[in-house]
Symmetry: C2
Subunit: 341 residues, 2 copies
DNA sequence: CTGTTAGCGCCTTCAG
DNA sequence: CTGAAGGCGCTAACAG
């Protein structure tokens, strides 16, 4: 491992000069810089993350995390990942502040961003609301050179430092594949999705639909339903859809209120194979009890964790992340989680 | 974040004394120690991993990794995880040396361990051969207080620092569950496993068998076959078994030579649903082409990575790991990996 | 038994 | 434009 001291000796200059040469701090003669850089390249010099972090300490780096308040189980998991990251980065002198704001309330989220910046955040992780004011504010963050990471969401037309999310289209596609396997390739299905005004959900829905169109000619997708943002209404809608589609024997359910879906299916008294998205406690229980057939997970904790770590790598090692980090989705059967005999 | 300096000031002693008190180095009066420790507890002091690592540098910590030479695809993946860990721990002043030895050759492995220790390894990660001489050597490592991590294998009666592996019984159980789903709960099956003298494989096989017994009364498990350690022989055996069991329409294949299994199934010309373990390039291709139905993965790269990181956490933060770290297994359908339209 | 000090590698500040 | 020095938190070696 070569250090700036090695380079300094080799170049016959002081470490200070090497530091200036290698970090574009100016105040250095072009010739000296060139010579030092070439030595650094020759010795394959890499900055030591640990030493840098120790020195960084004085900078008091701070990451702001802008989340919703009334978070569902999915975001609780995301949050768990974020908290895990917090403990890991603390030793590196990087702190984290969480700002929670009302869901579907752009004004509140805007306010949170402003506050974060005012309080000295050096970077932002955000689950953005798709609203012109927010978009505009994010553009301004770019102008202010505050890197921000988009978490668990799709926002087009915004150039962010990095984005961390699942591949929504893929997860819908996988739901299709899983349905093919579970159904033996034939049957009648209903699919429920949360607010399709969110691009991610729409992509998932489209992935699912196009899979069935391409690969499952014998599965009739009788309806695709957008779920309301309420547990009881969701229950009622699932129930109604089941009543009005008596041949349906398969359901794909992607919704915040998993209990609603589970109960509605159960209370129908019909033999229905179902695929749920995400692993709420209800889903988990229902899976183990055989009330639902399978689940598709998107590792929310990993998403939260990675979003923070992207910034961590940047601060500690100047790593420029890929524009998009995809966290893989997984299929879960009861056999993955039930207790073994 | 409180530092030893804070504690020193508070206790009216020097940082040296605090260091001795907090790290059981002796040479300190019991009263001083007690007082300092209580202050540390009150201030919720945690050692700073970064600073410790920087200081650790002088110790030149070294992790030895004892692997087989003729590694299959599974161990290539394990190795990739290990190399990933290498780059992460380098900045912390911890190096890694890989010792490769002939598979199924205890003498050679023994020699590798000896050499690793002679060359100053402070810890060992090993994929152990289940042989009395190796076991004895591992016991001696314990006496020498060299922590060692067992990787991707089960060894009873050896108290190790930590073990990292998949849950073999669970992955067999999952194969059963997947077969249930794929087959619709009825059919005739064959199951192939690698050397059952390895405890892990035996556990997986038992997990699979007991699942079918408990939950799939209509699936006839016609035979369980142990695969030889050769590609051509494996092919021949699968072929023979298929011939002598003409009603078989389901196969579970866990073997090193995945190509053998795939080809034998393909060449039989029969309509066979199959579940493979692990994701070799052959398996991946066959999955995408629909020649096999599903795969069960055990994240070998994660296993390699975690094995190293367990020691890393110990060296940098004195973290005592759990005796066993289970890396989850996952189900893979073609829809997980095929290209999206 | 305890205090002091010199690093670990890097960054920043202050002199020159 | 460049060098020297101090400090980030912890450890180890040496003095007392």
């Amino acid at each position: 491992m070569t250090t700036i001291k090695d380079i300094a000796e080799m170049a016959g200059v002081s470490v200070g000069t090497v530091d200036r040469a290698l970090n574009n701090r100016g105040r250095i003669s072009p010739e000296a810089k060139k010579r030092i850089v070439s030595i650094a390249v020759k010795l394959n010099y890499r900055k030591n993350k640990v030493a840098k972090s120790l020195a960084n300490r004085k900078l008091n780096l701070k990451i702001a995390v802008v989340l919703h308040i009334h978070s569902n189980e999915f975001f609780s998991e995301v949050f768990r990942g974020i908290e895990r990251a917090r403990t890991e980065i603390a030793d590196f002198g990087i702190s984290m502040e969480v700002y929670r704001c009302k869901e579907f309330n752009p004004r509140d989220q805007l306010h949170s961003i402003d506050r974060a910046i005012a309080e000295g955040a050096n970077a932002v992780v955000i689950v953005p609301i798709n609203h012109p004011d927010i978009i505009k504010r994010l553009h301004r963050l770019n102008e202010e050179h505050i890197p921000f990471v988009l978490l668990a969401s799709v926002l087009e037309d915004v150039k962010c430092f990095s984005a961390v999310r699942c591949d929504y289209a893929r997860s819908g596609w996988m739901a299709g594949g899983l349905l093919r396997v579970i159904s033996g390739g034939a049957g009648n299905a209903l699919a429920f999705f949360p607010s399709l005004s969110m691009l991610g959900h729409r992509q998932r829905m489209q992935g699912f639909r196009s899979y069935l169109e391409k690969h499952c000619p014998k599965i009739t997708l009788e309806n695709i339903i957008e779920l309301p943002n309420d547990s009881f209404d969701s229950y009622r809608i699932v129930q109604e859809e089941l009543s009005s589609h008596p041949q349906v024997n398969h359901i794909v359910y992607n919704g915040v209120y998993t209990e609603a879906g589970i109960k509605a299916i159960e209370n129908s008294g019909r033999q229905i194979q179902s695929i749920f998205f995400d692993l709420s406690p209800f889903t988990k229980q229902a899976l183990i009890e055989g009330k639902i057939s399978a689940a598709i997970l998107q590792q929310p904790d990993q998403q939260g964790y990675r979003a923070i770590m992207v910034l961590f790598d940047y601060f500690t090692a100047n790593v420029i992340p890929p524009e998009l980090t995809i966290v893989e989705s997984y299929i879960l059967l009861k056999e993955n989680i039930e207790e073994l005999p």
